[in-house]
Amino acid sequence: MARNDLPNRNLSQHDVSRRGFLGSAALAGAASFAANMRVLDALQTPTLAAELKRQQKSVILLWLAGGASQLETWDPKPGRITGGPFRAISTDIPSVQISELLPKMAQRMKTTAIIRSLNTRNGDHGGGTILMETGRAKEAAVDYPDLGALIARELGRADSQVPDYVSLYSETEGRHKGGAGFLGARYAPMFLSDSMIPPNIRRLDSISETDHTDRAAFQRLLAKQFQDRHPRSVVSSHGMAYERVRGLMSSETLFDVSQEPQSARDFYGPTQFQEQCLIARRLVEAGVPFVKVARAWWDSHGQNFETHRELCADLDQGMSALLDDLGQRGLLENTLVLTFGEFGRTPQINPSLGRDHFANAWSASLSGCGIKGGAVYGKTDADGHTVVEGEAKAGDLFATIFSAVGIDPTKEYQVGARPIPIVDFGCKAIPEILA
């Protein structure tokens, strides 16, 4: 089984992020670097290549909450009774067409791959969300971490000054915080729910900067006595959490779009989602390994076409600006941009001209880092009712995501006595869309 194939299993079993490990060493300077035999050992193992491959990689998930229609986005069925009114348009990849509601993305398919064959079966918002957030169905016995926490765990740096999992949601329907599950609160999201600035990241006006730092130093001093007498990991997590406060506070400006020139803001556009795409770029540029921008609410039981006309316009502008901007800054090759939600929508059109929940044949997109641009994987039938080629499960999508950013999808975690694979049993990456 995979466990035994892992060349770097020893290292991965230590509760030390190798990325953080090298990162700290680099910070500590050359002398201590050379003196640290473990680092030298690490440099001489095949681990290094994988390690370097993971350096500075990030994932941005554009979460289409409520379930976007695959027919109005990545898998149009023009002219079919299920197809709706919108046309399919040509893209910069001759063999690929997407919905005319995404004209800008149609010119950026060179960076983007599509999976058209997700069959995730769960058409319930709650269950579907958990499935697509964690890559596996909810289980009573194990609290699984979500994608953001897994990426934060794998790509985050122990000594990072910035958050390693930011979830931008705002006050929208279907808001789901997700969480770090068995990985623990260290990897829980910094969750922005009702403001564009994370909660409690800004110093109170009533406390001066000096007082704030003096106080933190004094707290640390008092805490040390207890920490020294209780060398336990749960106690040190308290110290680590307080240690991270000042760094996180200094990342406040990352969330402030007014720091960007007007031209950049115009480039992304004025909607909340488009501004959040800009924030996502700022965060990734500063080294945040996972950002989720949740765009709600696609649950178009009534007026599917009007809803998608609005939301696709928002998505098309925000996503294409994000890809362009990342590309221009040289970040796209290290940043994976994803779109999917909890499920897709029914091919059949209901009397309110809506589409309902549908998880049997729907689509996701993957752009940038590690992705074979222009690739399309899987196929649905002429009317979009079933997958006829390349059926993919949530876990296959997750394995593909991990592979794209250099995380071994056969990796396992040890939870108590139980080895738990990072992706669900029997799932594997889709090589056809990996670069």
Binding site: F182, G184, P199, D211, R215, S233, A241, V245
Partner: protein, 548 residues
């Protein structure tokens, strides 16, 4: 889905027709009349001796009253409680402390909160009536087997018992959750890994155990008005890994099978029954749901408490209560009670289980015994030479994060003027405690619920550092607050002493005292602000965050 390998070892202790549980055990164990705490210390010491390990010394008195108060009252001790305990000279002051706390209103609140957390498996926001039910049951000293019976088969028409069904009601839409949670929380057996396949290594552990357990719950449904009811029929079918479809037998974890009574029904009768059930699920005016003669869940209760089958129920209760006070179970993880994961102290577990059954599942007797033991009173600091005993040996107290509610309550208590907190035994304390309880909800929800691999989150540190709430609510300087009281003190050293006792329940050590003096002197330009920063730093200390 076919799972390639099983990642949980799951072995059943199959005792098909064994003798009475107590009988089976009596031969090798300490006499039944041994005081509980003595039995605990006997077996814990026995194993330390075997492993040639020394336990840590006993915790100092201020640590001991803090720990005991947190565990029995769900809050830190007040300044006056802590100082009085340390100053007291009676030799039986520890047992008096335990008696006082267990008789105090705090005990029922805290044990209710603990049970609520345990039975909700980490989920928050359980219904108010469920919390009220647990509180009342604990105040009445209701035996654990009776509570279990009420939770599984309580009468929806009995207003006092109806809330007990919350356990089923909140899970009734999800048979897997119902099966797994009941099995795990009441019997210590996580059966979920046997859902997809037979155990690959142990012959007697089959899918039929999982589906056998779900068969007890298969007929449960919720009516339109959200009542827990049972259908007249209903069987669990499952597919083996070979694709063969099987009908599950109603089977308890011991392997004992319940045969539903063979009653011949006409197709009309069956239709009538099905229609009645259908009406219940559709119509909110359908009246009380019909009660079938045969109730699988009632059979589960009957079997689980039967003298020759009750070892799962009793051992799990002991193990989970033990873990509440020691931070880990005699069997660990708590839901892995099987022969491949034996108890570290099998005789102790047996002795305590036998004692629990013999004393009508009196959990408070067990708790009293646990907190009275030497093992419970060990220090959490290892300052002897050599390696400390391992956590499974219970020779060194574990550091346990406070539950979110313990923490919220303790923060509130610590931040108040200690002069207003002097009468925690007075009758009016009930109302005050109730008020504390309600006021602690909101802040408690800001903290993570501690679970396995718990870590303090950076959100918590940010909350302490930068929320207006922490600063304005807990570090205010008016007369009702600790800082208000400190302002009245004559000198720095009295201020420091009071703050340490109020927040950490102990005197400041010399090094701490001088560091605090330095800080307050440095902030002398604005002494009130200086005091607020000082108190904040103590409130934000890990020492307050943990039970140690």
């Amino acid at each position: 889905m076919l799972r390639q390998f099983c990642w949980m070892l799951m072995v059943m202790v199959v005792m098909h027709r064994c003798a009475d549980f107590a009988e089976l055990l009596s031969a090798e164990l300490l006499p039944a009349e041994t005081p509980v705490e003595q039995a605990i210390d006997h077996y814990i010491q026995l194993q330390l001796d075997t492993k040639q390990k020394q336990p840590a010394s006993l915790a100092d008195e201020s640590t001991l009253i803090r720990r005991t108060t947190l565990d029995l009252a769900g809050r830190i001790a007040t300044l006056s409680e802590a100082q009085a305990y340390v100053a007291a000279t009676e030799t039986d002051k520890r047992s008096k402390l335990i008696e006082r706390l267990m008789a105090s209103p705090d005990f029922a609140y805290h044990f209710r909160n603990s049970l609520e957390g345990l039975l909700s498996d980490g989920q928050r926001n359980s219904p108010g009536e469920w919390r009220e039910y647990l509180l009342k049951a604990i105040r009445e000293h209701r035996p654990w087997d009776q509570m279990f019976r009420e939770m599984m088969t309580g009468n929806e028409e009995d207003v006092a018992i109806k809330p007990a069904l919350t356990f089923l009601r909140s899970r009734a839409r999800d048979l897997d959750q119902l099966t797994n949670d009941t099995s795990s929380l009441f019997f210590g057996v996580n059966v979920s890994c046997a859902k997809c396949h037979d155990h690959p290594l142990v012959d007697d552990w089959k899918q039929e155990h999982y589906f056998g357990m779900s068969s007890f719950f298969q007929r449960i449904y919720l009516t339109k008005t959200n009542l827990v009811a049972e259908k007249f029929s209903g069987e669990v079918k499952y597919k083996t890994t070979k694709g063969e479809e099987k009908l599950a037998r109603i089977m308890f974890l011991t392997g004992t099978v319940v045969e539903p009574p063979a009653v011949a029904k006409t197709p009309e009768q069956i239709k009538e029954e099905n229609d009645a059930v259908h009406r219940q699920t559709q119509d909110d005016k359908a009246g009380p749901p019909p009660k079938p003669d045969f109730s699988p869940r009632a059979k589960l209760v009957e079997l689980a408490l039967q003298a020759d089958q009750n070892h799962f129920f009793a051992r799990n209760a002991v193990n989970r209560i033990w873990a509440l006070y020691f931070g880990r179970g005699l069997v660990h993880p708590l839901d892995q009670m099987h022969s491949a994961n034996p108890s570290t102290h099998p005789e102790l577990l047996d002795w305590l289980s036998r004692d629990l059954v013999a004393h009508q599942y009196d959990l408070q007797r067990l708790i009293r015994g646990i907190v009275s033991s030497q093992a419970y009173g060990r220090s959490s600091v290892w300052d002897s030479a050599g390696d400390p005993p391992g956590p499974e040996q219970f020779g060194l107290a574990l550091v346990r994060p406070l539950s979110s509610r313990q923490y919220s309550l303790s923060l509130r208590l610590a931040s108040l003027n200690p002069d207003t907190m002097t009468a925690t035994s007075a009758p009016e304390w009930v109302n005050r405690r109730d008020e504390f309880e309600r006021n602690s909800d909101d802040l408690a929800n800001q903290f993570e619920v501690p679970g396995e691999n718990f870590q303090i989150s950076v959100d918590e540190a940010l909350l302490f550092n930068n929320s207006a709430r922490m600063w304005d609510e807990f570090v205010r300087d008016d007369g009702g607050m600790l800082i208000g009281s400190l302002k009245q003190k004559a000198d720095q050293s009295a201020q420091i002493e009071t703050a340490f006792w109020a927040i950490l329940g102990r005197a400041a050590m010399p090094a701490e005292r001088s560091a605090c003096e330095d800080f307050l002197t440095q902030k002398a330009a604005n002494p009130v602000l200086g005091l607020r920063q000082f108190v904040w730093s103590l409130l934000a200390s890990p020492e307050l965050r943990f039970n140690h």
